[in-house]
Symmetry: C2
Subunit: 468 residues, 2 copies
Amino acid sequence: MDQKVLEEIRKIIPNDRILLQLQDRYSYSFDASFGEYLPDIVIQPEHAEEISRLVKLANRYLIPVYPRGAATSLSGGPLPVEGGMVLDMSRLNKKLIIDRENLLAIVSPGVITADIHRKAEEAGLFYPPDPSSSHVSTIGGNLLENSSGPRGLKYGTTKEYVIGLEVVTPTGDMIRTGGKTVKNVTGYDLTRLIVGSEGTLGIVTEAILRLIPKPQARGTLLAAFDRLVDSGHAITNILSSGILPAAMELMDNACMRAVENFQPCGLPLHAEALIIVEVDGHPIAVAEEISQCETLCLQMGATTIRVAQDERERQEIWKARKMVSPAITQMGPTKISEDATVPRSKIPDMMERLKQIREKYQLNLVVFGHAGDGNLHPNIITDKRNLAEMKRVEEAVSEIFKAAIELGGTLSGEHGIGTLKAPYMEMELGEIGLAMMKKIKQAWDPNNILNPGKIFPKPGQTKVVLTE
Amino acid sequence: MDQKVLEEIRKIIPNDRILLQLQDRYSYSFDASFGEYLPDIVIQPEHAEEISRLVKLANRYLIPVYPRGAATSLSGGPLPVEGGMVLDMSRLNKKLIIDRENLLAIVSPGVITADIHRKAEEAGLFYPPDPSSSHVSTIGGNLLENSSGPRGLKYGTTKEYVIGLEVVTPTGDMIRTGGKTVKNVTGYDLTRLIVGSEGTLGIVTEAILRLIPKPQARGTLLAAFDRLVDSGHAITNILSSGILPAAMELMDNACMRAVENFQPCGLPLHAEALIIVEVDGHPIAVAEEISQCETLCLQMGATTIRVAQDERERQEIWKARKMVSPAITQMGPTKISEDATVPRSKIPDMMERLKQIREKYQLNLVVFGHAGDGNLHPNIITDKRNLAEMKRVEEAVSEIFKAAIELGGTLSGEHGIGTLKAPYMEMELGEIGLAMMKKIKQAWDPNNILNPGKIFPKPGQTKVVLTE
């Protein structure tokens, strides 16, 4: 780090919140995705104003700036791929206000998402987005990646719950977007542009979230099917019956086996697929709907059905689902998580394509995900030291993306593009679509200071897993 | 119109879809807001490709382009304020596909919104956004203005239901944004940037809308209060009881009188305010919730309560609400419709401020609106030929905007900025916030071809109603 720059940084941030030692910087060199990149300096800001001054300085000296929440990103969101400055946002965690009258939460970016769930529920309210990592991930990271979890089907994505932001722009200015009203058409929707921009268009320093009344009751069932295709039909039939479940999750046989190896949950290992359906709302409606779902699953050939009789049994069903990610992590040293998303009706086709890819490349490919909204999570368990296998992984990942797009879907439903999917952007968006996005980035961040190396492919970049 | 340009236009569009006569052009010189501006030429395209070629030509010859749906805009959205070319989008109305399996509608921009409602409901589905004008307005206009109607409280705004677009960019390129999946984080959210951009960032040529299962039942009540403040408390208490109504509408005494004069509905004219509450969902839940709402209204001092016993009675209650706009139009030759929106808890304060403004400027100011989401519609009935009164109107409008912003609200909840609110943008957004929006416009539309004169104030522009 240049001494002159460092001196200027010290005028903004006290020494005990500036990390320069190799071991400290190393802790900030990775996330939950793939690859390691050492930053030159790590700073732990406590106020928006400090961030504003740091970004202005970064613009003056052309230093890359990488905001970082809890680093649970599966696409490389916070990775400091060009070195420079990491901003550890975890100390901006002081504000968590529930405004019951206006059904709002006002939060600092470093607040843990599960704490928002808890505080909202204490007030009889509900914040629906629930990424699997919500007990550790920060709301700031959730917003910038628009990571949403299982409730997208009924409740929409994270974006649908963000109505206002305080943001430090890529040139270090502070702006407020949106506000405290659900309806706001005063100019362009910068709120929704920044949410999901993966930290390339601004650093969120405060957010206003929309809450809804907490559903009075929940009903949950688990159904196992001998044939994957039957589980797909069960999902479709439930949706066309007029029921809109809060969640509809799918696990394949490989995921079940991984879970049972990791921590036995009594899953029916003979089954090819397992679905979890949860409905919520008025208690009478919930009871009626869950019974309808049970009937529909049986009609579609479910071999085992378990309906939760109380909250404990409900938690048990969800435990199996929540175990999937840690369980498959135990299967091998390297896990490549994708989240190719297809229109709901194409889930059986996508599952078939994934099966073909698994066989063609002889990989340990397991599939689970949010079947209700078409958001699948194919995971490849591998070992990055095995170069021959990694080459097959590279090709398999590429085929997964192609399959999703050919089926009318998208590269990423909620994990983000980051470093891992940048080379495939043009395949989905076309040259002009991608250029329209770049124009916004260039207009707002002419020096390419904010989270550089993300979303947009570098010229000639084609590989996503292998780094030559 | 320059002959050379006209000849080039004729290469793109046959003569019978090019309008040059004064009487034809005059028909396209106004909308439902304020002011008349004569375009140089009106074109009726039938395909996206024609629009793409026209916009490219407009960029070559620097001709302003004004897309126009049914021209029900209350903020001047389609007004050709700088002359040039109006694109009458009503012939792009061929596609209205309901994809039941994926809970989607795929629509052309010229389709009437009520036709989407009808077709969706025939398939057991539901498209929640419902602007008052939905029986005549086009979905293209609804999208570009993000106009939403009474169901924002429970179901969110129009934007929450648009997941994909086909768009002609300001430079005449065709792009697709988003897609058929609710979850999509592949790059920036251009869909939501273009929805609500008031036709300044692109012309929508096709849209993919998200549908939900049709609620099985609806319950509707009308409650009258002797004191406005009591109606405010009733609204707040219903919301904090855990009920999330599909709609919560408010009408002041002046609106009731206007309706009764126009078409008697038996409204309780002694009351200071009237609210309409509608809940929807499972029949048992609906019955229970509407009875709870009734109790809460009585506790808050409601003097009259009418609960709809069947669909006919429900329609009767809504008729009173839907009559408001036509009824007040009869009260005078000129109607200035605003839609200042405040956080829900500030509705009583805003109503008080509006009362003060009415008295201070001695104007015929009536108020109704979507109380559940804080979206009020103060309307001033006046006569644009009465210059003395119009000066008072100008000042009153300015004070309405100031009051909304001071109470933490916004200039516009759903009508858009257009020409009528442009001078107040900086008051809400600040200089930098506005500049960030301008940067996007400039990056995408360097020649300022698409709907120029909207959203962004001209240098020194301060008046909104008076045009000196």
